[in-house]
Symmetry: C2
Subunit: 207 residues, 2 copies
DNA sequence: GTCTATATGCTGATAGAC
DNA sequence: GTCTATCAGCATATAGAC
């Protein structure tokens, strides 16, 4: 199916997402979105009423998709080391497909207290995410009692893995431009970091 | 000395920095800067001609200050473990004073290829920074030959420490709002992360 | 559903009085 | 050095024709 065959409502959303990802919310205008879609600016407002509204739909969808990546790796039955390995690997693979997602989410949450508020109401209260964290907690305690894991809070494991993974992608454009790297070199760097981060975390979690 | 005693040029710069930090470049207008300073918008342009120009001065100054933190910790004579400890500690202490700096730098570099370009021309070419990295390289090699350090690239050590440190502060507003933490709890969390990051890195760098 | 036309407001920047 | 006044341009959003 050709992209141009789709309905305007969908195409506006796709183009908007692309532009929000690339430039951020403030720097993207509904006029620009319309221009790149090939329709009038009025149509953007016809479907989504306000720019903020258009943004929220895209934003929530993307955050939800990102959070679900965690869920998938936790569900399976494997050793704790393999669980860590696969969690980092899945995060990396997901972000390689969508390298600008972390920055996009970060930008809109960092500057905007209101968005953090509606994110809390949308996600944190959801029982599924609470359950997920409790599963992680259970595994960590068990592993620690078996003497195979350092005395670390489950939340710290999450934070450290997230820091190392997310920051890799956030800083990628800087790495590329400041050190004048080719696209191939960047891809290689990402793979290298994936391996080193896995090593660092596994070694760092040893008792 | 009262802040209101200072010259307008300085006050404009201070207020601009505060607003750029809080809201980002795109979301801050010279009109708003003027309003909070208590002068007219024309005066902002009188002193700095363009908004972009005002931004660049603040930006370069902040990046330079941030980079100098690395230099100070490398200069001294201590064991490699103590060097890592003190590097992380200094970074944390500097960022506790200025928690929004990492996000500010990140935002403007992530979205703006031109800014990355002039940052490269300003800093990466500078011999002092090249020298600094070579010093780190030397210490790492020596430590590895003595069998006290895992087989890790110096650049990876830099990246991992930066990821863990910077991301802590970048995600702080989210941590606070999404989990409904008080300011005191946030401060405690930062101290906790500082300790855990130090532990993780030291343990992770062991052979 | 898509358009044209337009309202209203804010932006960055400049000219010129004092 | 600081102000008032004003510019052109673009923003979001809406009304109404087809």
């Amino acid at each position: 199916m050709n992209m141009n065959d789709q309905h305007m409502e969908t195409r506006i959303r796709e183009v908007a997402q692309e532009l929000f990802f690339k430039q951020g919310y403030a720097a993207t205008s509904t006029t620009q979105i319309a221009r790149e879609v090939g329709c009038t600016q009025a149509l953007v407002h016809y479907y989504y009423r306000t720019k903020e509204n258009l943004f929220r739909q895209i934003f929530l969808e993307q955050v939800e998709a990102a959070l679900n990546v965690v869920g998938r790796s936790l569900a399976s039955e494997m050793s704790f080391d393999d669980f860590i390995r696969s969690a980092i690997s899945m995060y990396f693979d997901a972000l390689i497909q969508n390298p600008r997602l972390p920055y996009f989410v970060l930008e809109e949450l960092a500057n905007n207290p209101e968005r953090r508020k509606y994110l809390r109401e949308h996600f944190v209260k959801k029982p599924s995410y609470v359950l997920l964290y409790m599963q992680l907690e259970g595994r960590v305690k068990a592993e620690q009692q078996a003497g195979r894991l350092a005395k670390v809070e489950p939340f710290d494991i999450m934070m450290s893995v997230a820091s190392l993974t997310v920051f890799t992608f956030i800083s990628l454009p800087m790495y590329q431009d400041l050190l004048s790297r080719t696209d191939d070199q960047v891809r290689e760097f990402v793979e290298h970091r994936k391996a080193e981060i896995t090593r660092l975390v596994l070694q760092g979690l040893r008792p």
